[in-house]
């Protein structure tokens, strides 16, 4: 049996998730993860209506709060881990900014275009190195924590994991919404939800889609303070490896900036960069893409709309760098 994963764009006021549920022949119930909405995770009435089938909200955010409230020692250690990860994120971001600044200054030098192209490749390689290094170090922090705090030794977590498995048991699919991507990732891991889902189909969008990839990218071309550079948050679950999912692209990405798209796509290669707005869809069978209707950002700097997942003239990956 294959595991089907469907990634969607933001649902907004006119959700299309109900159509997907129907297409997959799901009659329900489904297990619902809205932990990305944190304190608002239980406000699921409109979504359940849109799904068109009964849904069981796994309330992962509330379960996490319950653990932190009653397992004080674990909570302290967990908060220290999160603080370390946040600090690492800030320092990694500082390095990225330094490379970005250097790349800009180098691109203005009065030298042969061929040399500038070489230098551009060096810049991209530096981003790639920093991205990979950041992921590896984040994973090391998480692994060390898991070793020190085996979840089975924290009774309340074990209990919640058991309850989650019980709740998922009678469901036909797992639905993961958007929201705060780090919060979502952490709660999914804390309660081992993807393992509990087994081979059930997974339907996910926005932050929910991001956490199923092998690399979660934080991005916004229009932050309130002017401009910023995309950064890797951490590794995702890797259920759909090889894709950088970029939700809400029309609002967050300058799709007309060819140089920026080119540099970003080269930085992420050989992963495929996919911008997913409302209505976009990607379908995977056991991690293999079998259908797509989205926008691909290419290593030549294009935003290839209506990308169907097939190879195209843009498909040649940019394979510079030491970590390909």
């Amino acid at each position: 049996m294959t595991r089907k994963v469907v990634l969607l764009g933001p649902q907004g006021p006119t959700p299309d998730v109900g159509a997907v549920v129907k297409d997959l022949g799901i009659k329900g119930p489904v297990a619902l993860v809205r932990a990305g909405y944190q304190e608002r995770e239980s406000d699921d009435e409109a979504l359940v209506t849109a799904l068109g089938v009964p849904a069981i909200n796994l309330t992962l955010h509330a379960r996490g709060n319950d653990v932190f409230k009653h397992e004080a020692e674990f909570a302290t250690a967990y908060q220290a881990r999160q603080q370390r990860l946040r600090q690492m994120q800030r320092l990694y971001h500082t390095r990225l900014e330094g490379t970005e600044e250097a790349a800009k200054r180098i691109s203005l030098r009065y030298v042969e275009p061929e040399l500038l192209a070489q230098e551009e490749k060096v810049s991209v390689d530096q981003y790639r190195y920093m991205d990979l290094d950041h992921i590896e170090r984040c994973q090391a922090v998480r692994a060390a924590f898991d070793k020190e705090w085996p979840y089975k030794n924290v009774p309340l977590i074990a209990q919640h994991r058991h309850e989650v498995r019980e709740l998922v048991g009678p469901t036909e699919a797992l639905v993961i919404t958007g929201g705060h991507v780090a919060s979502l990732l952490n709660r999914l891991q804390l309660f081992d939800v993807l393992a509990a889902a087994g081979d059930r189909p997974i339907i996910a969008w926005s932050a929910g889609a991001m956490v199923l990839t092998d690399r979660i990218i934080l991005f916004h071309d229009y932050p309130p303070y002017g401009s910023d550079i995309a950064q890797v948050l951490d590794a995702g679950s890797g259920l759909v490896p090889g894709y950088a999912v970029l939700p809400d692209a029309r609002r967050r990405i300058n799709l007309g900036a060819a140089a920026g798209i080119q540099r970003f796509a080269r930085r992420m290669a050989p992963a495929t960069c996919v911008a997913m707005d409302h209505g976009a869809r990607m379908v995977f069978d056991d991690g293999e893409l079998v259908y797509a209707d989205a926008t691909r950002l290419t290593t030549t700097g294009d935003a290839e709309r209506n990308w169907s997942g097939e190879a195209s003239r843009f498909s040649t990956p940019y394979l510079g760098g030491v970590h390909v």
Binding site: P10, G178, A182, A207, L218, P223, Y225
Partner: protein, 377 residues
């Protein structure tokens, strides 16, 4: 391009023509780079009074012969925002008034000024109350300070506050004025609701003797760091990380922020310094600004001689129309030389509260960013 005022100058000037001119325009008349100030009435002379550094502070309006219309056209660069008053001279005495034809006002502790918005300037949407944004809570608390005796301070508590969380904290010098004249509470409500800045607790301080206490006074730094913040920490869940501690202020308040951070290195991770009164000298120790600045001059001179890290991130903003632009522009490379993360912003505005208000989104979202980068719905 013909200016609206020229049509009146060159056309009929009967009373009904003047009435029609006044009724047909909003004032000052902004057309491209031209801003025409108009006053109507009987007077010996009328002057435009403004605080734009580099322009004549007092400029005479000309009377259109045969009418009671006075006018002056200035060219203002795009995006400018200029506060002004009109001086109407009668019987040899000048009276400063707000422009009766212009409804735009900016308030400050001294009253209110009229404001002209040049082409390209728009009041930011996030400074006005948003009915959909959750509202924070303002409170007033008293502290018995060993340094200053009994003193009140304000607290801004963000909407959806939870005791189980740890919050960043900002100490806002002249915080009550920031609320009164720069809509700080509304700005915080809106920016927090938009996820652009972190849910943050803000301590609003005010001093009855700010020109002394803010001018690199050791007592002030001690009060804020060793009395006020520990007191607030006992009341509310405040993060203990330096990157979650921010000092902010404008004018002398910016000096107080920098002075406090200087005295407690490693304690404050974020500074927001607006139009700082960072007077200095290149030779001698007396600045032209007068004795009130003497201690500041010493502080800034010391810092320029031996710059050091006083925070992780420092946001500096200043108006291009204020004289302090010289001091702030000079300070920025000094701050940069230490390796701190410095962001410097100039705006076509003056030394006033709405200038400081308009920079809050840029500054606070950079210093204490909210979760907008992490939220994908």
């Amino acid at each position: 391009m013909t200016l609206a005022i020229e049509a009146l100058i060159n056309g009929r000037k009967a009373r009904e023509d003047v009435d029609a001119f006044v009724a047909a325009n909003s004032f000052p008349i902004v057309s491209g780079p031209n801003c025409t100030f108009v006053w109507r009435g009987e007077a010996q002379a009328v002057h435009l009074k403004h605080w734009v550094f580099g322009l004549e502070r007092s400029q005479q309006l000309a009377r259109i012969e045969g009418t009671d219309i006075w006018h002056l056209t200035l060219q203002l660069p795009p995006g400018s925002r200029v506060e002004y008053k009109l001086e109407v001279v009668r019987n040899g005495h000048g009276e400063w008034i707000q422009d009766p034809l212009n409804p735009n006002r900016a308030r400050d502790p001294f009253g209110a000024n009229s404001v002209v918005h040049a082409t390209g300037y728009e009041v930011p949407s996030w400074v006005n109350p948003d009915p959909t944004a959750a509202k924070g809570h303002l409170d007033e608390i008293w502290i018995d300070s060993k340094t200053f005796g009994r003193r009140g301070f304000g607290l801004y508590i963000p909407a959806r506050f939870q005791r189980s969380r740890n919050y960043p904290v900002i100490v806002a010098h002249d915080g009550h004025d920031y609320v009164r004249y720069a809509s700080l509470d509304t700005v915080l409500d809106n920016l927090i609701d938009r996820l652009e800045i972190a849910d943050t607790i803000v301590v609003l301080t005010s001093s009855p003797d700010r020109l002394n206490e803010y001018a690199d006074d050791e007592r002030h730094a001690k009060f804020v760091t060793e009395e006020l913040l520990p007191y607030v920490e006992r009341l509310l869940p405040i993060s203990a990380e330096p990157q979650n501690r921010c000092l902010m202020g404008a004018s002398f308040g910016a000096v107080a922020s920098m002075s406090t951070a200087l005295r407690y290195p490693g304690f404050y991770g974020r500074l927001l310094l607006q139009s700082g009164s960072f007077a200095f000298t290149d030779i001698g120790d007396r600045n032209h600004r007068g004795p009130l600045f003497d201690r500041i001059v010493q502080m800034v001179n010391r810092y320029r001689a031996e710059p050091n890290v006083i925070a992780e991130k420092v946001y500096v903003s200043v108006g291009t129309y204020e004289s302090l632009i010289y001091e702030n522009r000079t300070l920025v490379p000094v701050l940069n030389s230490t390796g701190m993360d410095v962001r410097y912003v100039e705006a076509r505005d003056g030394h006033n509260w709405e200038n400081w208000r308009d920079r809050l989104r840029d500054g606070l979202s950079w210093l204490l960013p909210g979760p907008f980068l992490h939220v994908y719905e």
